[in-house]
Symmetry: C2
Subunit: 238 residues, 2 copies
Amino acid sequence: MFAVTTSPPVGQHASVLAALGGRIASGALATGQVVTLDGICAEHRVSRSVAREAIRVLESMGLVASRRRVGITIQPRERWNVFDPRVIRWRLDLGDRTDQLLSLSELRRGIEPVAAALAAERADGEQCRVLAAAVSDMVVHGRSGDLEAYLRADTLFHRTLLEASGNEMLRALQDVVAEVLSGRTHHGMMPARPNPDAIALHDEVARAVRLGDGPGAERAMRAIIDEAAAALRAEQGH
Amino acid sequence: MFAVTTSPPVGQHASVLAALGGRIASGALATGQVVTLDGICAEHRVSRSVAREAIRVLESMGLVASRRRVGITIQPRERWNVFDPRVIRWRLDLGDRTDQLLSLSELRRGIEPVAAALAAERADGEQCRVLAAAVSDMVVHGRSGDLEAYLRADTLFHRTLLEASGNEMLRALQDVVAEVLSGRTHHGMMPARPNPDAIALHDEVARAVRLGDGPGAERAMRAIIDEAAAALRAEQGH
DNA sequence: GTGCGCTCATTCGTCATACTTTTGCAAGAG
DNA sequence: CTCTTGCAAAAGTATGACGAATGAGCGCAC
């Protein structure tokens, strides 16, 4: 239906961008290290134009800084645009998965309860329907143990909720949350069978939203996040 | 001491980027409208290399999309990277100020209470000291009516709190929050004299953080945001 | 008249190259 | 030892050429 992030990195420029971004996020290119444009050209067999465009984008993400006479310097993490979906994906795929997921969980604890509260005031009928359907799917696939299908339903639930918040900033975090959920199951940080309590809480959120109960939706959503964080800690503590 | 965001847009490429970004954010270039690369070259008297690099960055921000045979298409707001500091600044400076500030207020209502709670567990002595000093400055300059100095203290307070949260994602929102505070006072959306209650709440947050009282800090911070939103509505309803 | 396919013009994508500008660094003058 | 000065390295900019995709219009067949 839709692949929001640029799924097939087509175009020379996108390949170089992805390659360099990945190497920086993974730490293969360490902070403070410098590379030269010509070096990139040679390594990836591309022209200077292509390399320059890739570098410019990385620079706009705060991953590198380019200075005359010295070259392209990898920037410290503090300068990174940590909300850029591509940066998040690179870090989840190749970098510090666990730290990143813990950070994002703390962020979600702020974001999603507010989104739930707003959604309770603003969600339309269709969105309520989708939320209910998503919960239903979570129940079914949670029982059957089909983690992929469960992930799809879970993602749809959270995306819809953020969408229903009617706030563009929260809506923009759809991809972030989706990446977190996806990263959790695809990197073996989910229990083999989803926690039934978590599903029940999702249902509670859906109901509260439908009834226009802002505080209730906020509370239940907070519980979901706390449960997820606890589960993550448990998995990690293995 | 430091200007975190690229303060003086030096370099041909940065000028074009800022010009186009501003025109898109302000709506002067409407969604769906198309421009050509050659058109940009001619208009800004730059070479294709420079124009291409600017376009690539805009594309990475989701502001435009480039397709062969058709040109460069301005994208709808839903695709924008609304967390990119430059996008936020452009929108605050030239675009839909009020909507943007309301959106950001809702976002802050989620972010900052969580940051306060985390800070209560993680802030070090120095950060507590800075928070206290910032509150003190807010009291002084709030009384004297020096809005610029008040803004500096307020900004320092919120920046320090987000920093003390120890969460990189929250820390990355420092610029966003700072932009909001700055935008509020610089666009005539602040009362002539800051609300003393708001200052008292800041003090309460600082104390709770110092005492390690997470829930208390979270509550007080939530009250700050609610007060700010109410004040904004009042000013707007004028 | 309608529908299908083919050609073509347009616009971005990529490459190669030359020139300009900044700036770290080191050698030499005091 | 310090300061100046000149050099060279690297990014920044400009230009021109070619390649590739693709929307649009034209023409042909039925």
